[in-house]
C-alpha cells in the first residue's frame, strides 16, 4: 500500500501530461484544466498519506519502480527514497503546486495554448517530484534536467516576445553549465563508490578522503549554484520573469530554484567532511543574499524585484547550509515557498488587474481598488521582511542566529545587512504599488478590477500559510519541523543548542528592529516624502546607474563567453567552407601550371606544331574551369600522388631512414 501510494505521486501528473498532451486538442480548456490540477491534487493527497506514514515511522524507506539501467558494473534502479526530508519537499511541491495550478486556471484564462501550458506545468510537477523523491543521483539528474526543460518551455511560453525566447535559452544554457559540474560530481561519486544509490553513498561517505569529499562537494555546488541562481550563475533568473506569472511563482520561486538547496542538504554527509566546500557554500550564499538585495533596491519591474528577492532569499538558504544549519535551510525553504509564491501570485493579480502592466512607476494607489490583493501582498511583504510573528521572521532569524552563534560573524553581517535591504525594497515595492497617488495610465485605470475567486482563494490560503507557517519551527531549534527532520538533516556542529537564551532573544530583537528600520525608511521615502527617493537617486547617480544596470554582469558575460564562442564558430565555419574550395582551386592551379609548362615545352622545344598547341590550350582551358564532373579523376589522381609523396617524406623524416634502407628491410 505504501509503495503504491509513493508510485502514484509522480504517476498522476504523468498521466495528465500524456492525456492532455496527446488528446488535449479534442476537448475544452476546462476539461484540460480540471485534469491538470486534479492530478496534482491527487498527488497531494497521496503525499499527505505518505507523510502520515512517515510521521509514524520515520525510518527511510526505498521504493523500487523497476531496474532502469543495468549492464557491466553499472546498475541503476528507478527508485524512490522516502524519508522525512523527501516528505517535507513532497508536501511543499504538491501543496504549493496545487494552489498555483488552481490560480493558473484563472490567470491563464483565454490565453492561446492554454492546454499546452498545463501540459508543461504537469510535466514540471513530474520532474520536480522525481527530483525530490529519487533514491540515486541518476533519478535526481532526470528530475534536475526535466525541471530545467520545463522551465525553458514555460519561460518561452509567450511566442511573440523576443525577450522571452532569449531568456529561455539563457536559462537553459546557464543551467547546463551548472549541470556539467553536477555530472562531474556524479561521475566522481561513481568512480569512488561504484554505485549511485544515496543509501550506499551517504552511508559510506565517511570513508572519503577530505580531498575527494571536497572535490565532489564543490562539483555538486556548481550544479546547485546553476539551478538555484546563486553567484555567479544567477543572471538567468531575473530574465526568466518573461514567463507567465504562475510559472514564476511555481518554478522560479517556490520549487525548482530550491532544488540546489535540497541537493546540498541531501548530501550533507559529504559536505560535513569538506570544510572548504562548506565555507564556499556559506560565502556564495552570504554574498548572493546581499548582492541580489542591492540590485533589488532600484528595479522598477514588479516581477524583477521579486526575482532578485528570490535570488537573495536562496542566498540565505545557502548561507544556512554553509554554517551547517541544514534544518534551518529547509525551514526557510518551506516558509519561502509560502510567502514567495504568495507574492508572485499577488503580483500576478496586480498585473492581471492592470491589463499586463508590470512597471511600478505606473502603479500606485491600488489599495482600495483591489483590496484582497493588497491585503495578501502586505502579508507576504511582512513575512519576507522578517517581522514577527509571520513565517519569514522565524526561519531567517534562525539562520542568522546559527551564523552568529557559530562565530561566522562575516556571514552574519552579510545576512543582517541583506535583511535590512530586504525589508526596505519589499516595502518600497508595496508602497509604490498600493499607496500614494495613482500613476496608472488613465485608459487602464477604469478597467481595474479584483481578480476572480479562482485566483483569490489560493492567495488567501497562501497568506494564511505565510502567517502561521513559521510556527512549524517554534520554539526555535525545537519546533515540529526540527524534530521531524532531525534524523536526516541534523546540524553538523551541534548547532546553537549551547547558546544562551539571552543571546538568542537579543539577536531576534535586533533582527526585528532592523526589519522595522527598513520598513520605516521605505515609508518615509515613498509615502511621507515621495520626492526624496528621486533626490537620493540623483545625488548618488553613479551608484544608482550601476545598480539599475545590475552591475553590468550580463554585459560582462556576453563579452567574455558568449561572443568569443560565436566568433570561433563563425571563424571555423568559414575555414571549413573555404579550405576545400581552396584545395580544389589549388589543384586547378597546379594543373594549370603543369599544363602551361607542358605547353611551353611542347611549343618551344619538342614540336612547336600547331595542332599540339591547340591540344595544350584545350588542356589549360578545362583546368581553369570550375570543377566539372568529367575530369575529376585527374584531380583525384593528383591528390593521391601528391599526398603519397608527402607521407613518404614524413615517414623517412620520422624514422631517419633513407628510402633505400627502408626498402631493404
Amino acid at each position: 500500500m505504501f509503495e503504491l501510494l509513493v508510485l502514484l505521486i509522480p504517476l498522476f501528473p504523468l498521466l495528465a501530461v500524456l492525456v492532455n498532451g496527446l488528446f488535449g486538442h479534442r476537448y475544452s480548456h476546462e476539461v484540460a484544466a480540471r485534469l491538470a490540477y486534479g492530478s496534482v491534487f491527487l498527488s497531494f493527497l497521496c503525499a499527505l498519506a505518505v507523510a502520515a506514514d512517515v510521521v509514524a515511522d520515520p525510518q527511510p524507506r526505498e521504493v523500487v519502480a523497476y531496474s532502469w539501467i543495468f549492464g557491466g558494473d553499472l546498475s541503476i534502479d528507478l527508485a524512490f527514497l522516502i524519508d522525512p526530508l523527501t516528505t517535507v519537499m513532497l508536501l511543499v511541491v504538491t501543496g504549493v503546486g496545487f494552489l498555483i495550478h488552481v490560480y493558473s486556471v484563472g490567470y491563464m484564462h483565454g490565453e492561446e495554448g492554454f492546454t499546452r501550458f498545463f501540459t508543461y506545468m504537469n510535466l514540471f510537477m513530474v520532474s520536480m517530484l522525481l527530483l525530490v523523491m529519487g533514491n540515486n543521483y541518476a533519478v535526481l539528474f532526470i528530475g534536475w534536467e526535466g525541471v530545467g526543460l520545463c522551465s525553458y518551455l514555460l519561460i518561452g511560453y509567450y511566442y511573440d516576445k523576443v525577450s522571452a525566447a532569449k531568456a529561455a535559452t539563457k536559462a537553459f544554457v546557464m543551467n547546463r553549465i551548472g549541470d556539467a559540474g553536477f555530472l562531474l560530481a556524479i561521475f566522481l561519486i561513481f568512480s569512488h563508490f561504484r554505485t549511485l544509490d544515496y543509501t550506499t553513498v551517504l552511508a559510506q561517505a565517511s570513508e572519503l578522503s577530505t580531498g575527494m569529499a571536497t572535490a565532489i562537494a564543490l562539483c555538486l555546488l556548481v550544479g546547485a549554484v546553476g539551478k538555484s541562481a546563486q553567484l555567479p550563475l544567477y543572471t538567468w533568473l531575473p530574465d526568466a520573469m518573461e514567463g507567465p506569472t504562475p510559472v514564476s511563482a511555481l518554478i522560479h520561486a517556490a520549487t525548482m530554484v530550491t532544488a540546489g538547496v535540497y541537493m546540498v542538504v541531501r548530501n550533507h554527509a559529504i559536505y560535513d567532511l569538506a570544510p572548504i566546500a562548506m565555507t564556499a557554500v556559506g560565502i556564495i550564499g552570504g554574498t548572493t543574499a546581499l548582492f541580489a538585495a542591492t540590485i533589488g533596491l532600484v528595479q522598477n519591474d514588479i516581477k524583477r524585484v521579486l526575482a532578485y528577492s528570490t535570488v537573495s532569499q536562496l542566498g540565505y538558504m545557502f548561507l544556512a547550509c554553509g554554517v551547517g544549519a541544514y534544518i534551518a535551510a529547509i525551514f526557510h525553504l518551506v516558509t519561502h515557498a509560502f510567502f514567495k509564491a504568495l507574492l508572485f501570485l499577488a503580483a500576478g493579480s496586480v498585473i492581471h488587474a492592470l491589463g499586463g502592466e508590470q512597471d511600478i512607476r505606473k502603479m500606485g494607489g491600488l489599495r482600495q481598488k483591489i483590496p484582497i490583493t493588497y491585503a495578501v501582498f502586505m502579508i507576504g511583504t511582512i513575512a519576507i521582511a522578517g517581522i514577527p510573528p509571520l513565517a519569514g521572521f522565524w526561519s531567517k532569524d534562525e539562520i542568522l542566529a546559527h551564523a552568529f552563534v557559530q562565530h561566522h560573524y562575516g556571514l552574519y553581517l552579510l545576512g543582517a545587512i541583506g535583511a535590512v535591504l530586504t525589508s526596505f525594497y519589499m516595502f518600497r515595492l508595496t508602497f509604490l504599488t498600493f499607496y500614494g497617488p495613482s500613476r496608472v495610465d488613465p485608459h487602464v485605470a477604469h478597467h481595474i478590477h479584483e481578480s476572480p475567486k479562482v485566483m483569490t482563494v489560493p492567495l488567501m490560503i497562501l497568506a494564511a500559510l505565510s502567517i502561521v507557517g513559521g510556527f512549524l519551527g517554534v520554539p526555535p531549534e525545537h519546533g515540529l519541523l526540527h524534530s521531524f527532520l532531525h534524523p536526516v538533516a541534523a546540524s553538523a556542529g551541534g548547532a546553537a543548542h549551547e547558546s544562551s537564551t539571552g543571546l538568542v532573544v537579543g539577536l531576534a530583537t535586533f533582527a526585528t528592529l532592523t526589519a522595522f528600520a527598513g520598513l520605516g525608511l521605505a515609508y518615509y521615502l515613498y509615502v511621507v516624502r515621495p520626492h526624496m527617493a528621486d533626490e537620493w537617486a540623483r545625488r548618488t547617480s553613479g551608484l544608482y546607474t550601476l545598480l539599475l544596470n545590475k552591475y553590468y554582469v550580463d554585459e560582462f558575460y556576453d563579452r567574455i563567453a558568449v561572443e568569443p564562442c560565436k566568433r570561433l564558430g563563425d571563424m571555423w565555419d568559414w575555414a571549413d567552407r573555404h579550405i576545400i574550395d581552396r584545395v580544389v582551386q589549388g589543384i586547378n592551379h597546379m594543373t594549370d601550371k603543369g599544363a602551361a609548362a607542358a605547353t611551353w615545352i611542347e611549343k618551344h622545344i619538342i614540336y612547336g606544331g600547331l595542332n599540339i598547341i591547340g591540344y595544350a590550350n584545350h588542356l589549360a582551358a578545362w583546368s581553369w574551369r570550375k570543377l566539372q564532373s568529367g575530369m575529376v579523376h585527374h584531380y583525384a589522381t593528383i591528390i593521391v600522388i601528391g599526398l603519397a609523396v608527402l607521407v613518404h617524406l614524413l615517414l623517412f623524416w620520422l624514422t631517419g631512414a633513407t628510402p633505400g634502407s627502408y626498402a631493404m628491410r
Binding site: W68, L74, T169, R176, G569, V632, L654, T655
Partner: protein, 495 residues
C-alpha cells in the same frame, strides 16, 4: 598463401543474410526493368521487405548463436558482426521508408535509387564482417561506390553534383590512404588477418600504417581532422541520402575500428588510446563549436554528427570491453535520434523546399507533431535525461572514468553544454518564433512511420534500456579479457 574456397552447406549458412539480400537485389532490378507497371513506391516496399527478411535471419542467428568464420578469417560472423549488420539493416529500412517522398520528386532513375541503397547496404554488411585488411579495403570501397552515385543523384542540381564530386575526390583519396596503410602493416607483419597481426610486434612502419588506416576510417566516420567533406556533402546530397550517410557507414566503419584496434592492434593500445583521445576531443569541440554558426539544418546535423562521433571515440579511447559496450549502445541511441531528426527534415523540406533553420520558425504551429518529435530527437542528441542519448553518454563517460580519463571526461561535459546551445537554437525557432507561413504541414505515412519508430526508440532506450544494454554487452563478450587500465594513457592524459 592459398585460400581454400571450398564452401560447405554450413558455411553457406553463415552467408545467408548476404546471399538473401543479393538475390533480392537482383529480383528488384529485374522487376524494375521488366515490369513497366511497377511503381517506385512498390519497389521501395519490396526493398524494405527484403531488408526486413534479412533482419529476421540475422535475429535468428543472434538468438540461436550461429557464428563462425569463412575464407581463412576474411569473413567473420560473430555476435559483434551480427549486431552491426542488424544496426545497418535497421538504418537501411528506415532510410528507404523515408526516401519514398523524395524519390517521387526525382526526374530520373527512381528504381535504381533503391538498388543503389541496397548495394551500399550489402557492402556495409560485409564491412561488419571484415576479418582481415584485404576485406576491409574491398568492402569499404564496395559500400562507398554506391554512395558516390547516391550523393550526386540529383543530376540537375549543381549542389548535388558538386557534393558528389567533392565526396568522390576525397573518398578516393581516403581509399589511397587505406591501401597504403594496409601495405605498410603487411610489410611489417607479413599478414593481413587481424588475429595473426595480433601476435606480431612492429615498428614505425606499423605505427604509420595503422595511423593511415585510422585516417581512412576516420574519413568514413567524419572524425576531425578528416571531416572536411562532411558539411558540403551532407548539404548537397538528397536529404534521405544524407540521413543514410550520417548513420550506416559510420556504424560499419566503427565495427571495423573496434575489430581492428581491439583484436589486431591490442598490443599497441597505449599508443592508439592517445590517438582516440585526441580524435575525440578534437571532434567534439570542433563539431560543436562550428555547429553554432550554421544556418542550414543539414549542415547543423552534419557538424552535430561530427561531435557525436567524438563521443563514440570516447569508448575507443577507453579501449575496454565497457568502452565497446558503450559504443554499441550509443550508436543505437544515435540511430533513432538522428534518423528521426532527418525524417523531420525530409518532411519539412519536402513541403517548404528549404533547409534553412530560419524556415523552421513556428514549426510548432504548422505541425505540432513534427516540432515535438524534433524536440525529442534534439534533446536525445544533446543527452537530456531520460532520453536515449543520456544513457548512451552516461555509459561512455563511465567507461572513460574506469580508465581514469578525466581530461576527456571534462571535455565531454563542456561539450554537452555547447551542444545544448545550438540544439536550442532550432528548438527556439520551432517553438517560439513566428511562422513565416502559417499553413499547416502534413506528413506522408511512410515518413510518419519513421518518425514514430524514432520516437519509440528514443523513449524506449531511455526509459527501459536494459534489453538493449544486455544485447550490446553480449555482442562484445569476446573482448572480456581486454581489460586493465592503460598505464601510458593514464600518466599522460589522466587526472
Amino acid at each position: 598463401m592459398t585460400f581454400d574456397l571450398a564452401l560447405t552447406g554450413s558455411d553457406l549458412l553463415l552467408l545467408l543474410p548476404e546471399i538473401l539480400l543479393t538475390l533480392w537485389l537482383c529480383l528488384m532490378v529485374c522487376l524494375d526493368f521488366s515490369m513497366r507497371k511497377i511503381t517506385h513506391q512498390n519497389l521501395a516496399y519490396l526493398g524494405i521487405g527484403g531488408v526486413l527478411a534479412t533482419l529476421v535471419v540475422l535475429i535468428w542467428f543472434d538468438l540461436t548463436g550461429i557464428t563462425g568464420t569463412l575464407f581463412k578469417n576474411m569473413f567473420v560472423l560473430d555476435r559483434l558482426a551480427i549486431f552491426f549488420k542488424i544496426f545497418i539493416l535497421l538504418a537501411t529500412a528506415l532510410v528507404m521508408c523515408s526516401s519514398i517522398d523524395s524519390v517521387r520528386t526525382f526526374r530520373f532513375f527512381k528504381g535504381e535509387y533503391y538498388f543503389l541503397v541496397l548495394m551500399s547496404t550489402l557492402g556495409m554488411m560485409f564491412m561488419a564482417s571484415a576479418g582481415d585488411l584485404l576485406s576491409v579495403f574491398v568492402t569499404v570501397e564496395f559500400s562507398t561506390f554506391g554512395f558516390y552515385v547516391l550523393v550526386a543523384y540529383l543530376r540537375d542540381d549543381l549542389r548535388s553534383s558538386e557534393a558528389g564530386l567533392k565526396f568522390f575526390i576525397l573518398g578516393v583519396f581516403a581509399a589511397g590512404l587505406l591501401a597504403y596503410g594496409i601495405s605498410l602493416v603487411y610489410g611489417e607483419t607479413g599478414t593481413l588477418i587481424f588475429s595473426d597481426i595480433a601476435g606480431t610486434s612492429g615498428s614505425y612502419g606499423m605505427t604509420i600504417g595503422f595511423l593511415l588506416i585510422f585516417a581512412a576510417l576516420g574519413f568514413k566516420i567524419g572524425a576531425v581532422p578528416f571531416h572536411s567533406w562532411i558539411p558540403d556533402t551532407y548539404q548537397g546530397a538528397p536529404t534521405p541520402v544524407t540521413a543514410f550517410l550520417s548513420i550506416a557507414p559510420k556504424g560499419a566503419a566503427i565495427a571495423i575500428l573496434i575489430r581492428m584496434f581491439y583484436v589486431a592492434l591490442a598490443s599497441f593500445k597505449p599508443m592508439w588510446v592517445l590517438l582516440f583521445i585526441a580524435g575525440s576531443i578534437l571532434s567534439m569541440t570542433y563539431g560543436n563549436i562550428v555547429a553554432i554558426a550554421q544556418k542550414n539544418i543539414k549542415r547543423l546535423l552534419a557538424y552535430s554528427g561530427i561531435a557525436q562521433i567524438g563521443n563514440v571515440l570516447i569508448g575507443l579511447a577507453a579501449g575496454t570491453k565497457q568502452g565497446s559496450d558503450a559504443i554499441l549502445f550509443y550508436l543505437l541511441t544515435y540511430l533513432f535520434a538522428n534518423l528521426g531528426a532527418f525524417a523531420v527534415v525530409i518532411g519539412v523540406s519536402h513541403i517548404i523546399k528549404s533547409d534553412e533553420i530560419e524556415d523552421y520558425s513556428g514549426l510548432n504551429r504548422r505541425s505540432p507533431f513534427l516540432a515535438a518529435s524534433m524536440l525529442l530527437f534534439l534533446l536525445s542528441l544533446a543527452g537530456v535525461p531520460p532520453l536515449a542519448g543520456f544513457i548512451g553518454k552516461l555509459y561512455l563517460f563511465v567507461a572513460a572514468i574506469d580508465q581514469e580519463l578525466y581530461t576527456l571526461l571534462i571535455f565531454g561535459l563542456i561539450n554537452i553544454i555547447i551542444s545544448m546551445y545550438y540544439y536550442l537554437i532550432v528548438v527556439k525557432k520551432m517553438y517560439i518564433n513566428e511562422p513565416l507561413d502559417p499553413s499547416p504541414l502534413t506528413v506522408s505515412i511512410p515518413l510518419k512511420t519513421v518518425v514514430y519508430v524514432g520516437i519509440a526508440g528514443t523513449l524506449l532506450l531511455g526509459i527501459y534500456p536494459k534489453p538493449f544494454i544486455d544485447w550490446a554487452v553480449s555482442a562484445t563478450l569476446m573482448f572480456s579479457n581486454i581489460a586493465g587500465p592503460t598505464a601510458a594513457a593514464g600518466s599522460i592524459f589522466g587526472g
